[in-house]
């Protein structure tokens, strides 16, 4: 049953609730229930953090390697280059997220000013 499987107004909302809300709030509620009972430092928690982090990192890579919309009109090397440049700037600035984001956007926008992308659609 995919997101657009049923042609009714309520199905997408039910889909979001089950696939999105139940699946996130369950982990939060589990956290309240466990609160204080489980050590953050335990191996189980480290493993959980590793799996979740690797998964989110895969999502990030996907957004850069095969992006949606107008960003897809830019070369892969420019996207990877601006992300890498932003990350280096972030580290150099003492892990300031804002610096990393701005540096990345400066590289990307600078490239698009030099080599304008075609208007999509």
């Amino acid at each position: 049953m995919s997101f657009d499987a049923l042609d009714t107004w309520w199905w997408p909302y039910l889909f979001i609730l089950i696939a999105g809300a139940v699946t996130t709030d369950s982990w939060r509620f589990l956290g309240v229930w466990l609160g204080g009972k489980v050590s953050e430092e335990s191996d189980a928690m480290v493993f959980v953090r590793c799996v979740a982090t690797a998964l989110v990192a895969a999502v990030i890579a996907g957004l850069i390697v095969s992006p949606a919309g107008a960003l897809a009109a830019t070369p892969l090397a420019v996207r990877i280059g601006s992300a890498a440049g932003g990350f280096v700037a972030y580290l150099a600035a003492g892990k300031r997220v804002l610096v990393g984001v701005v540096a990345c956007e400066v590289i990307l926008v600078g490239w698009m000013l030099l080599f304008p992308i075609e208007s999509a659609a």
């Binding site: 589990l30 956290g31 953090r49 590793c50 990030i60 601006s82 997220v97 990345c104």
Partner: protein, 246 residues
């Protein structure tokens, strides 16, 4: 109750005051950056054919941005309810240790349990980072009111951001929307690195970045789960043999 304070008659006032103080975090740098990545998210959701009302609904009921981006990715890939739910669940496991760390700070001796369950909904990377940094500056019995101010207003404000982007995005030049699409990955790349508690998390991140595109090519449907499990296990093994603290 034997430690009741003399100020308890003004408690509602005081709770409101701390709620508002929490709400002022809306104007902090992390909150500003989060809003720009919600601009990016709204652009992504729009591209995926999700309606304005659905995107606002997602923001309110899911809240955590990685979970929403994973859900939109699953919708784009045409995943079924189970596949999409499983990918979102796997990407959200990290909420549990975050809540586990926050709950002891919010708990009071006579506090009601349901308040903590309700407040936990607002836990996502940004509000959690703000809370962990400042919660100790708040008197213990005012912390739940304060955190409602931090998390609740952040959630509602970003739902408004999403709604507004849907109105103005169709009129944006291609270069502007391309720049917006880059905000979300860049925000995650840096904030995820910064929130790591042990070096194994950094290893997991690097593994996920490399494995993601590989598994997307090998098996698009299961790429997120495979990247999470394989990359996460590898990082954990590394942690057991060499790692320890960041």
């Amino acid at each position: 109750m034997s430690t009741a304070r003399p100020s308890s008659p003004n408690q509602p006032d005081s709770a409101l005051r701390w709620f508002l103080r929490g709400a002022t975090n809306l104007f902090s740098v992390p909150a500003l950056i989060l809003s720009t990545s919600f601009v990016g998210f709204a652009a992504l959701a729009m591209e995926a054919g999700i309606t304005q009302a659905q995107a606002v609904f997602m923001t309110l009921v899911i809240w955590a941005l990685p979970a929403k981006v994973v859900l939109v990715g699953a919708i784009l890939a045409g995943s079924g309810l189970f596949g999409a739910g499983f990918a979102v669940a796997l990407s959200s496991i990290r909420l549990t240790p975050m809540v586990v760390a926050l709950v002891p700070e919010l708990r009071t001796a006579g506090g009601r349990r349901w308040v903590l369950y309700a407040l936990s909904h607002f836990v996502a990377v940004t509000s959690w980072v703000i809370a962990m940094a400042h919660v100790r500056e708040v008197p213990r019995d005012m912390r739940t009111a304060w955190y409602l101010g931090v998390g609740g207003t952040l959630t509602v404000a970003n739902a408004v951001v999403v709604a507004v982007v849907y109105q103005i995005a169709p009129h944006m030049p291609a270069a502007v929307s391309a720049a917006l699409f880059m905000l979300t990955p860049m925000y995650f790349l840096t904030s995820l690195w910064g929130s790591a508690r042990e070096r194994a998390t950094h290893v997991a991140m690097a593994a996920g970045l490399l494995l993601g595109p590989f598994f997307a090519w090998l098996s698009p449907q299961f790429s997120l789960m495979l990247s999470g499990l394989v990359g996460g296990s590898a990082a954990f093994l590394w942690h057991r043999t060499r790692g320890r603290r960041a």
